[in-house]
Amino acid sequence: MTEALFLVFIFMLAAFLGFELISKVPPTLHTPLMSGSNAISGVTLVGALVVAGEQQTPLLTAVGVLAVVLATLNAVGGFLVTDRMLKFFRRR
C-alpha cells in the first residue's frame, strides 16, 4: 500500500510541474505543444515492448505487438510532425 501511495506522490508532483511548465508556452506554439506532448504520451511503448517480448500465450503476444505498432505510430509520428511544424518557427 505504501508503494501505491509513493506512486501517487510522483503523480502529484509531476502534475504540478506540468502545470507550471505548460502555462509558460505561448499560444503561437500551442499546436506543436499538443503534437509534441502527444508524442511523449506514446511512452506507453515501453510497456508494450515488454508484453510483445514476453514468452506468454500467442494471444498476449498479439496484443503486445498491436500495442507496439500503435504506440510507435503515436511516438514517431508525433515527433516527426512536430519537427516539421517547428521548422517553420525558425527565427530569420
Binding site: G18, P27, H30, M34, S41, V51, A52, V65, G77, F89
Partner: protein, 460 residues
C-alpha cells in the same frame, strides 16, 4: 544491475521529457526541445529492451518496424492544414496502446492463475487505464472522422443524449466494480465495451468551432491513460510523462473553453448547433465587392489587420496571404495578424499555417493585444473567420455567442470579409458584422480571391 540500468535510463528519459516541454516555451528553442523529447523516448525504449521479462525480440522488431514506417509516411505527407485530424488520430493510437498494455497485465494474471492474484490497487489502475484509454481511442477516431469530413462536422445529438452518456458511464463503473470485488474477467470486458461507446457518445455532439476543445481534452486523456498504465506497471517514466501530457491537455482545454466563454462541461454537454439563432437577417442587405475594389482599399491604407479563420485553412490560402502581405508591405502598408484562440480546429492552428507560409510570428497578435488598436485600423481583412468576429458576442444578450471574447473587427474604419457564401458560421448564428455600412463582402474561394487581389494590386 540490469534493473539499475533500466531505472537509470528511465530517470534520464524523464528529465529529457521535462526539458523538452520547458524548451517548447520559446519558438527559438522549441525544435531543440522536441528533439530532446525524441531522444528521451529512444533512451526509454533501448533500456526497456534489457528488461529481464523480454525473451524474444522478433515480434518487437516487427511491431516497431511497421509502426515507424507508417508513422514516417503519415507524418511526412500530411498537409499542414490537416494537422488537427492528424493529431487526433495519433492521440487515439496512444490511448488504445495504453489500454491494451493494461489489459495485457490482466491477461497475464489469467494465464498464470486468476485475477484474484492481483492486488486491489492493480485491478483499480488496470480498470482506469482501460476506461480512459478506450474513451480516448474511440473519441479520437470520431474527432478524426469529423475533421477529415469522413462524417459530418456538425454536432450529432441523439434523443436524451446526455442521459445515454451517463448511463454508459454508469455501466463502465459497474463493470469496474465487478472487476474489483468479484475479480471476474467479464467486468473488464463490460468496462472496455461501455467505455468505447462512451468515447463515441462524448464526441458526437461536439462539432465545428468546438473541435479545439475536444481535441485538447482527448489529448489530456491520452496522457492520463499512459499515467494509469504507469501505475499498473509501477513504471515511474510512464507516470511522469503521462501526467505532463495530461496537464498540458488540460491547460489547453481550459484556454480554449475560456476563449469561448464556456465551460468544458458546457462544450461536452451543450451542443451549440442545437440552439436556434437569436438574430435573423430579415430585411438587411450586405454589400458585395470585387477584387479590384479590395485592392484599392488595401493599397491606400496605412494599417491593415488580417483576421484568419478556419476558412483560410479549408481554402489552403496561407501562401496567398503571404503574397498579399508582401505586396502590401512593399507599398509601405503596415500589415498585422489578429489571432483568436479558437480560430481553426485546434489550439494554435492558424499560427502553424501562417508560419508555414513564412510569415514571421512577430506579426501575429493575440486578441487582447490587438483589440485596443482596432479603431485606428484602416482595413480589417477577415479571411474565412466568422463567429470570432461577430459583434453580437458583445452586444446581443440573446445571441448564443454572447459573452465570448471576440476580435473587434467591426471597430475598424473599413471591414472586408472574404467568404465562400452567405451561409452562417458553424454556430448557425447570423453575423451582424456583414451588415454594417462599412463592411464589404468578397465572395468566393479565399485563395482565388486573394490571388485576384494580388493581381489587381499590380495595376493600382
Amino acid at each position: 544491475m540490469t534493473e539499475l540500468l533500466v531505472q537509470g535510463g528511465y530517470l534520464i528519459a524523464s528529465v529529457l521529457f521535462i526539458l523538452a516541454i520547458k524548451l517548447l516555451a520559446s519558438p527559438r528553442t522549441a525544435r531543440q526541445g522536441n528533439l530532446l523529447g525524441a531522444l528521451g523516448m529512444l533512451i526509454g525504449v533501448v533500456v526497456t529492451l534489457l528488461h529481464r521479462q523480454i525473451v524474444r525480440y522478433e515480434w518487437i522488431g516487427v511491431g516497431v518496424g511497421v509502426g515507424a514506417a507508417l508513422a514516417a509516411w503519415l507524418a511526412l505527407t500530411v498537409k499542414m492544414t490537416a494537422m488537427p485530424q492528424m493529431v487526433s488520430l495519433l492521440n487515439g493510437f496512444g490511448g488504445a496502446a495504453s489500454a491494451l498494455v493494461a489489459g495485457a497485465e490482466a491477461g497475464r494474471a489469467l494465464y498464470t492463475g486468476s485475477l484474484a492474484d492481483l492486488s486491489f490497487f492493480s485491478l483499480l489502475t488496470i480498470g482506469l487505464s482501460v476506461l480512459i484509454g478506450a474513451v480516448t481511442f474511440t473519441g479520437s477516431l470520431i474527432a478524426f472522422a469529423k475533421l477529415q469530413e469522413v462524417m459530418t462536422g456538425r454536432p450529432i445529438v441523439l434523443p436524451a443524449h446526455h442521459g445515454q452518456s451517463l448511463l454508459l458511464l454508469g455501466v463502465s463503473l459497474a463493470g469496474m466494480g465487478y472487476l474489483l470485488y468479484a475479480q471476474q474477467e467479464l467486468g473488464l470486458w463490460v468496462l472496455a465495451a461501455a467505455a468505447a461507446i462512451l468515447g463515441v457518445w462524448i464526441t458526437l455532439p461536439v462539432g465545428g468551432a468546438d473541435m479545439p476543445v475536444i481535441v485538447a481534452f482527448l489529448n489530456s486523456l491520452s496522457g492520463l491513460a499512459a499515467a494509469a498504465t504507469g501505475f499498473v506497471l509501477t513504471n515511474y517514466l510512464l507516470i511522469i510523462a503521462g501526467v505532463l501530457v495530461g496537464a498540458s491537455g488540460l491547460i489547453l482545454t481550459q484556454i480554449m473553453a475560456r476563449a469561448m466563454n464556456r465551460s468544458l462541461w458546457n462544450v461536452l454537454f451543450g451542443a451549440v448547433g442545437a440552439q436556434g439563432p437569436a438574430a435573423t437577417a430579415e430585411g438587411r442587405t450586405v454589400r458585395s465587392t470585387t477584387a479590384e475594389d479590395v485592392a484599392l482599399m488595401l493599397a491606400y491604407a496605412k494599417e491593415v489587420v488580417i483576421i484568419p479563420g478556419y476558412g483560410m485553412a479549408v481554402a489552403q490560402a496561407q501562401h496567398a496571404v503571404k503574397k498579399l502581405t508582401d505586396a502590401l508591405e512593399k507599398r509601405g502598408v503596415q500589415v498585422r495578424f489578429a489571432i483568436h484562440p479558437v480560430a481553426g480546429r485546434m489550439p494554435g492552428h492558424m499560427n502553424v499555417l501562417l508560419a508555414e507560409a513564412d510569415i514571421p510570428y512577430e506579426k501575429l497578435y493575440e486578441m487582447e493585444r490587438i483589440n485596443p488598436d482596432m479603431p485606428q485600423v484602416d482595413v480589417a481583412l477577415v479571411i474565412g473567420a466568422n463567429d470570432v468576429v461577430n459583434p453580437a458576442a458583445r452586444t446581443d444578450p440573446h445571441s448564443p455567442l454572447y459573452g465570448m471574447p471576440i476580435i473587434d473587427a467591426d471597430k475598424a474604419r473599413t471591414v472586408v470579409v472574404l467568404k465562400r457564401s452567405m451561409n452562417p458560421g458553424f454556430a448557425g448564428v447570423e453575423n451582424a458584422l456583414f451588415y454594417q455600412p462599412n463592411t464589404y463582402m468578397l465572395f468566393g474561394d479565399a485563395r482565388k480571391s486573394l490571388e485576384a487581389v494580388v493581381e489587381a494590386l499590380k495595376e493600382v
